[in-house]
């Protein structure tokens, strides 16, 4: 099992390409699921396992939606970089994808240490449902 420290080091490794960053994004979300004793989904959503893994997390934890757009930015930049590999802004796109990846890691690792991270903004569902209802809707 990959530790958070190992993931953090991998995220900061130089010269990551788009595929490597996407895979790391998936690994970050897999770590989240593993920590919650869930089997990470192998399914895809909109062509990306990353988005399916995020959805799996948000289904039981609405505040996980705080990283929804970060995941979508990763997928977006992956598409840009793989569909236009020789684009003049390739390096800039790689740099922006790395910031999105780093944010995903920081958010998920922060949330693993402080469960309430993101609760301020996105936790409307548990506020309206009892614990029993939440469990049933998961």
């Amino acid at each position: 099992m990959t530790t958070l420290a190992e993931l953090g080091a991998a995220v900061e490794a130089p010269d990551l390409d788009a595929a490597a960053m996407l895979a790391l994004g998936e690994a970050v979300l897999e770590a989240w699921h593993a920590a919650h004793e869930r089997t990470p989904t192998a399914e895809q959503r909109e062509g990306f396992r990353l988005l399916a893994l995020h959805r799996q997390g948000a289904k039981t934890e609405p505040s996980f939606n705080a990283c929804r757009e970060t995941c979508r930015e990763l997928a977006w930049h992956y598409n840009l970089l793989t569909l236009e590999p020789d684009h003049a802004e390739r390096e800039q796109r790689l740099a922006m994808m790395r910031f999105a990846l780093r944010h995903l890691f920081l958010f998920v690792s922060g949330k693993l240490e402080q469960a309430g991270l993101g609760d301020f903004c996105c936790a409307s569902r548990p506020l309206r449902l009892s614990a029993k209802e939440q469990a049933e809707s998961a």
Partner: protein, 307 residues
């Protein structure tokens, strides 16, 4: 005449404290644009995160009281809340009152006990300051009034988390052309572009700033904010434009903390979008509260806007 030319103004607590520059610049901008803001009388806390986390229905009541005063005591049809937290909570209360009988019961009971009319869902519309300017003035109207173009100023627009999440409490968003997007919000980009600014491609527009943990887990918040700031700088931005007092304070304070605790110095400035628009319309830095920000932007303002 736009339906937003005269609205009930709900500043909320942050705009009376750490976000006072946002309060000052919002009111100054409204005045410069000929828009009428009437502050909600005897307003109370929206319930923020503290009440919401302990008793969500009490938060619904608190937000409903603000809307009840605006509707029943002041005769307004629209409440404008510049603070993302207030905006979010009023929208959430509206949603809960429309969909949850338990919330309606609590609001009715507490309103009766407090001696004011019960708020019913749909009586007023809650909008953000971005909706207000976008609908009441629009890009063309704004461009026609610009005196100091923001041309050449590179801006990263940071919307924060509560402006678009959760999606179901914002039914007016994601409705196609002209509406705001929850995936890639653009209203602030549109308004600043109309004032001449050059918006940079910025992937962390709605990314979490760790705002709720700024005191309990400061290092996590600092790292999240630092990543947002460094992404903005790497995107070429000279300014991060904000539309939330919590985000704004977080960005400013953790920018300082990142330098002090992690030794990472960053140069990008942080200004409310209302400050940037006010400056573009010819208001002075003092009129829009630049002196009230932690981030000292005066040199940039003089060089890039007041030139």
């Amino acid at each position: 005449m736009s339906k937003y030319e005269s609205v009930a103004y709900y500043p909320g607590c942050a705009l009376e404290g750490s976000g006072h520059a946002y309060n000052r610049s919002t009111q100054a901008l409204g005045k410069a644009l000929g828009l009428k803001l009437e502050e909600v009388k005897n307003w109370n806390c929206c319930g923020a995160m503290e009440v919401k986390n302990i008793d969500p229905k009490l938060q619904t009541y608190l937000s409903s009281r603000v809307m009840a005063i605006a509707a029943h005591d002041m005769g307004h049809k629209t409440v404008m809340a510049p603070c993302n937290g207030c905006y979010h909570n009023l929208k959430k209360a509206e949603y809960d009152l429309a969909h949850d009988a338990g919330s309606r019961d609590v609001v009715e009971r507490l309103s009766s006990k407090a001696g004011h009319a019960t708020y019913e869902a749909g009586t007023v519309e809650t909008i953000h300051a971005l909706d207000w300017i976008k609908s009441a003035i629009g890009e063309e109207g704004l461009a026609a009034r610009v005196k100091h173009s923001l041309q050449g100023l590179k801006v990263a627009n940071y919307y924060g988390c509560m402006y678009t999440r959760p999606r179901h409490i914002f039914p007016e968003k994601d409705q196609g052309a002209g509406s705001e997007s929850t995936a890639k919000p653009h209203f602030m980009d549109d308004l600043l572009a109309a004032a001449g600014a050059e918006n940079v491609e910025f992937p962390l527009k709605t990314a979490c700033c760790g705002g709720a943990h700024t005191l309990s887990d400061s290092d996590t918040s600092t790292k999240l904010v630092l990543n947002i700031i460094q992404a903005a700088e790497a995107a070429g931005a000279e300014v991060i434009a904000t539309e939330c007092p919590t985000c704004h304070s977080g960005l400013e304070m953790h920018q300082v903390r990142a330098e002090k605790n992690f030794g990472v110095k960053t140069a990008v400035k942080i200004l409310y979008f209302t400050q940037l628009l006010g400056l573009a319309l010819g208001l002075s830095p003092r009129q829009v509260g630049v002196h009230e920000n932690v981030s000292d932007s005066m040199a940039l303002v003089k060089e890039k806007i007041l030139r």
